[in-house]
């Protein structure tokens, strides 16, 4: 296992033997770095793992960039067509226009190419029409033709799952190989601080893993360059920086864990077993178990029960008695006997009342539904304290605006736009009574007065981001570093076997 047998003999520079202190530590670090780097460069296994990793990362980045470009261009074209269709719908009664409605399409951030999050499993468009809060439809997964229940290649998969695995491959023998081959005494006698050697070897490992993120960086730069200003994020720059920093912390955590396990284990085999177990639990078992167990935090209703409850409550468009009172009040106010003689359109007023009633019903049902999903989000985030993969997964999809909370944000914004449309259309209808039995018809001026739906994700809530994902991620790094230090102490003063 040449890939994991670091030569200690060349680790320390002559200066390292001169004494202690920061300078010595730095020299030892540089010496160990150079020795490790040189050795890894010569090792064909390292080249193989790196080449495979880079090929996968490049394919993932290319695929993600193509997917994003395709989705963005399709959604952009559809949104423009919808806008033109709305304005060019001709003269008609505003309520007919309200039923005609418009489709809204969810915008995607550039970072969503790196971490698609839940995008594949949520609808892409929503129909904004009178009387109904529709759900988002056309989930890409529904067109997946049976290919959707296994790992999907994405830069996030490469960075969250495969990069740590590559680090385990390349690093499990970092110290365990020396112990197994009886070279630990030589390492101790070497004189260079063990911490410096471990830091150097860990840093080399981290650099190798970071190399796997290069294709993603190139892809995002290309997509960003091509997309121009079509970014639905206010704070894309700070999100990107934190995105990169998050992955740096995550990979550094794994570098520290690999160092810790390799320094702690008595044999290379047990180091590998420890790391593979940790990786399997952290990256495969805990993330899935967490989302399953989160159901207990706030159970969700079935679609049919949910829809039935809304339909039952919608029942009649509004309270008939209240409507009757309102009508009498208007008749009295304008001094007329029949609604036909009112200077306002009673039908428009009824529609306004109906929409207000419907909105209250939707809020009563969708509010708790979204709250339950948010509670599940919080429950899932708790698992981030057990698994750095959960923490980085949550952080990266939140920053990429491809998580459930961002999706709900879009759904709520679309619903607000629907309500605005209905308000403007029904108010216009209410202002224009029918004349001589001829229904009022509005035209392009009214259609143009309704602003097109342009959605931008809300600025990042840094407090929530920190407590929910960053803190567990940093805590994970702290624990990994503490484990590495403890293992190095054992390596320095424990049994040589």
């Amino acid at each position: 296992m040449q890939a994991n047998s670091n030569a200690i003999t060349s680790a320390a520079s002559p200066h390292a033997l001169d004494g202690v202190g920061r300078g010595v530590w730095r020299h030892a670090f540089l010496g160990a770095w150079l020795a490790d780097w040189r050795e890894r460069r010569r090792d064909w296994r390292v080249a193989l793992v790196l080449a495979l990793g880079l090929a996968l990362a490049a394919s993932a980045a290319l695929l993600a960039a193509l997917d994003l470009e395709r989705a963005r261009s399709a959604r952009g074209a559809a949104a423009s067509a919808e806008s033109a269709r709305w304005i060019g719908q001709g003269s008609k009664n505003p309520h007919s226009a309200a039923h005609y409605g418009v489709y809204a399409f969810k915008p995607l951030s550039t970072l969503a190419a790196l971490d698609p999050g839940v995008e594949h499993y949520v609808g892409t468009s929503i129909w904004l029409e009178a009387h109904k809060q529709n759900d988002m439809v056309y989930r890409p997964a529904a067109d997946g033709a049976g290919a959707d229940r296994q790992f999907r290649l994405s830069p996030a998969l490469v960075l969250q799952v495969l990069a740590p695995a590559a680090m385990i491959f390349l690093g499990f023998g970092m110290f365990a190989a020396e112990r197994e081959r009886g070279m630990l005494p030589a390492l101790r006698l070497n004189g260079a601080p063990l911490g410096a050697i471990a830091a150097a070897r860990g840093a080399v490992l981290l650099c190798l893993a970071l190399a796997m993120s290069l294709p993603a960086v190139v892809a995002i730069a290309l997509v960003k360059w091509h997309a121009g200003d079509a970014e639905p994020l206010h704070d894309a720059g700070s999100r990107t920086l934190l995105f990169a920093a998050g992955y740096l912390v995550y990979l550094a955590t794994w570098a520290a864990l690999v160092t810790a396990a390799s320094a702690f284990a008595s044999t290379m085999r047990s180091a590998l077993a420890m790391l593979v177990t940790a990786w399997t639990l952290s990256n495969l078992v805990v993330p899935r178990a967490a989302v399953e167990l989160a159901q207990a935090a706030a159970p969700l209703p079935s679609t049919h029960a949910f829809r039935q409850a809304i339909d039952d409550e919608l029942g009649m468009p509004d309270d008939p008695a209240e409507a009757e009172r309102h009508k009498r009040q208007l008749l009295q106010q304008y001094g007329v006997d029949k609604v036909e003689d009112l200077p306002v359109n009673w039908s428009g007023i009824t529609q306004l009342r109906s929409e207000a009633h419907g909105n209250a019903v939707f809020d009563r049902h969708y509010g708790p539904l979204f709250a339950a999903m948010a509670a599940q989000d919080r429950a899932i985030a708790v698992a981030g304290w057990l698994s750095p993969a959960v923490a980085i997964g949550g952080l990266s999809s939140r920053l990429a605006a491809s998580d459930n909370a961002s999706h709900v944000e879009f759904v709520q914004a679309a619903e607000q736009h629907r309500r605005l449309m209905q308000e403007l259309l029904n108010s216009d209808l209410a202002r224009h009574p029918d004349r001589d039995g001829v229904k009022y018809e509005a035209g392009e001026v009214l259609w143009r007065s309704i602003p097109p739906f342009r959605f931008t994700y809300a600025p990042t809530d840094w407090g929530q981001l920190f407590t929910r994902w960053l803190l567990p991620l940093l805590a994970g790094l702290g624990v990994a570093l503490a484990l590495a230090l403890a293992s190095l102490r054992r390596l320095r003063s424990g049994s040589v076997k």
């Binding site: 993932a60 067509a81 491959f169």
Partner: protein
């Protein structure tokens, strides 16, 4: 034979003396049972949804019958003062387009709890509306999307992803430990060939573990009612165990090849983990990526736009299209109303049919693209044992893509029948209304009380019938054979080297 049995007995005794092996098996069983629990929870939720849907359908029908009895007995009763035709079941227009409650449910197979498969993204209960298939096409159960994106933790996940690691760990010391401890030569001197040691020990270890897993899972599944305790349940368990055995055979062959090639347990563990990564994560992801690239499905945004264009077109040609409709159905032609003046609620189903006709080309394009991707994916899956196993478990549980497509096909036929039935009822009601000229909904006009005659969905017997062991699962044996040959070649090479040395 006796020597082989002695070898197995000796090996298994030595293996079971190790605390690590027992801990590994215990942990594996716990993880498997948790997967079974989650599968069972999902299955029970799906069953509860089906029962609730059936109850809702029956309840709505009973309530409609009750309302119709009261309404037609005394339409002028105060309770009906605010009745609106489009919101009541006693008017055929209100019933057809709003109040009719009809569901279609995909019957669960006895082994459904053993693999969630695609059931979480393709709901087994869908609402069927007379007007169109839209409610079926866009049906989705309310789920936290992170659960769909991350994948389910079920028994299938455990077996496909984690079980190979257990098998590789159990088998990593076969032959390699003997090589490390220099005991191999003495064993060979006793006349036991290295290939026999390799295959017998790897096979026995994997078989023992697989039998243990299958027995424990079967016992718990039957005891907890996850699988019915009858012949169908036992068959489901047998099918599941058969796939587990095939899959375990493949991984034990991989382990044998690894042990044949590697000099030490450490390098065997290293190579085993590498191959696991390759087969479990990299190969399926690569196949998915290849299918996405080679057989792209057009973006749904284009479908939405095509549908909007089609709606505009149908609305613009309403009068001409209705004239054609009544030409082909003279028995429904209104006596006094011009086709262009027929009310929208009477022409609504025709409009839906016209929309469908206009959308046929686009629908075909999307269906062909989806079919092409499914076919390509199925072909490519032969290159990935994990994908083969995934598909086999899902198919055996009845939660696979193909079965759901068959279900949607049956729902489509039912929806067509339902629409035709309502079309006839509405057109005849419109003629009656023309004749009677009721001021409000009345029998002989739009009044409706034939709720029990409205077509209901029932799945075909074939859909409720479990399939045998999926044929493609047998390809796993081909993969196992390939790795077996690789192992033999590695041992032959080693022998050759030793002889030369």
């Amino acid at each position: 034979m006796i020597r082989t049995l002695a070898l197995i007995r000796f090996d298994l005794r030595a293996l079971l003396r190790e605390r690590g092996t027992l801990l590994l098996l215990a942990a594996a069983l716990l993880l498997a049972l948790y997967g079974l629990f989650e599968g069972m929870r999902f299955h029970r939720h799906a069953q509860a949804t089906q029962h609730a849907a059936a109850a809702q359908e029956a309840g709505a029908r009973a309530a409609a019958n009750d309302l119709a009895a009261r309404y037609f007995a005394n339409p002028d009763a105060p309770e009906f003062a605010g009745l609106r035709y489009y919101r009541t079941p006693v008017d055929v227009r209100g019933y057809a387009f709003r109040e009719h409650v009809g569901f279609a449910s995909l019957p669960a197979l006895p082994g459904a709890a053993l693999a969630i498969g695609e059931a979480d993204i393709r709901p087994s209960t869908v609402r069927v509306r007379a007007e169109s298939m839209e409610s079926v096409r866009t049906a989705a159960e309310i789920e936290h999307p992170a659960r769909l994106a991350g994948g389910r933790y079920d028994l299938m996940f455990f077996v496909v992803y984690l079980w190979p690691l257990v098998l590789l760990s159990l088998c990593a010391s076969v032959l390699t430990q003997d090589r490390e401890s220099l005991r191999l030569r003495s064993l060979l001197l006793q006349g036991v060939g290295s290939s026999r040691i390799l295959f017998v020990q790897a096979g026995a270890r994997a078989l023992l573990a697989t039998v243990l897993l299958s027995a424990v899972v079967a016992a718990i599944a039957l005891a907890t009612g996850s699988v019915p305790s009858d012949a169908s349940g036992l068959q489901a368990i047998a099918r599941w165990a058969g796939i587990v055995l095939l899959y375990s055979t493949f991984w034990s062959a991989v382990a044998a090849a690894v042990c044949a090639c590697c000099a030490s347990r450490m390098s065997a563990a290293f190579a085993g983990f590498g191959l696991w990564l390759l087969f479990v994560i990299v190969a399926p992801a690569a196949i998915d990526a290849a299918a996405r690239l080679a057989a792209p499905v057009p973006p749904r945004e284009r479908y939405v736009q095509a549908m909007r264009d089609a709606i505009d077109g149908v609305n613009a040609n309403r009068a001409a299209s209705l004239a054609r409709f009544y030409d082909s159905h003279p028995e429904w032609r209104p006596a006094r109303t011009a086709p262009g003046d027929v009310s929208s609620s009477v022409s609504r189903l025709h409009r839906a049919q016209e929309l469908e006709r206009t959308m046929q080309g686009v629908e075909r394009e999307f269906a062909q693209a989806e079919g092409a991707r499914a076919m390509l994916f199925a072909r490519l899956s032969a290159l990935s044992p994990v994908t083969l196993a995934n598909a086999a478990f899902a198919a055996a549980a009845g939660n696979d893509y193909a079965r759901h497509r068959r279900f949607v096909g049956e729902v489509e036929r039912h929806q067509n029948a339902l629409r035709d039935w309502f079309q006839d009822a509405i057109q005849r009601a419109a003629l009656g209304d023309e004749r009677t000229g009721c001021a409000r909904t009345c029998l002989g006009g739009y009044g409706f009380r034939d709720f029990d005659r409205v077509p209901r969905f029932s799945a075909s017997a074939a859909l409720a019938q479990p399939t045998g062991l999926p044929q493609r699962a047998w390809l796993l044996l081909g993969w196992a054979g390939a790795f077996g040959v690789l192992a033999l070649a590695a041992l032959a090479r080693e022998r050759h080297r030793q002889q030369r040395g």
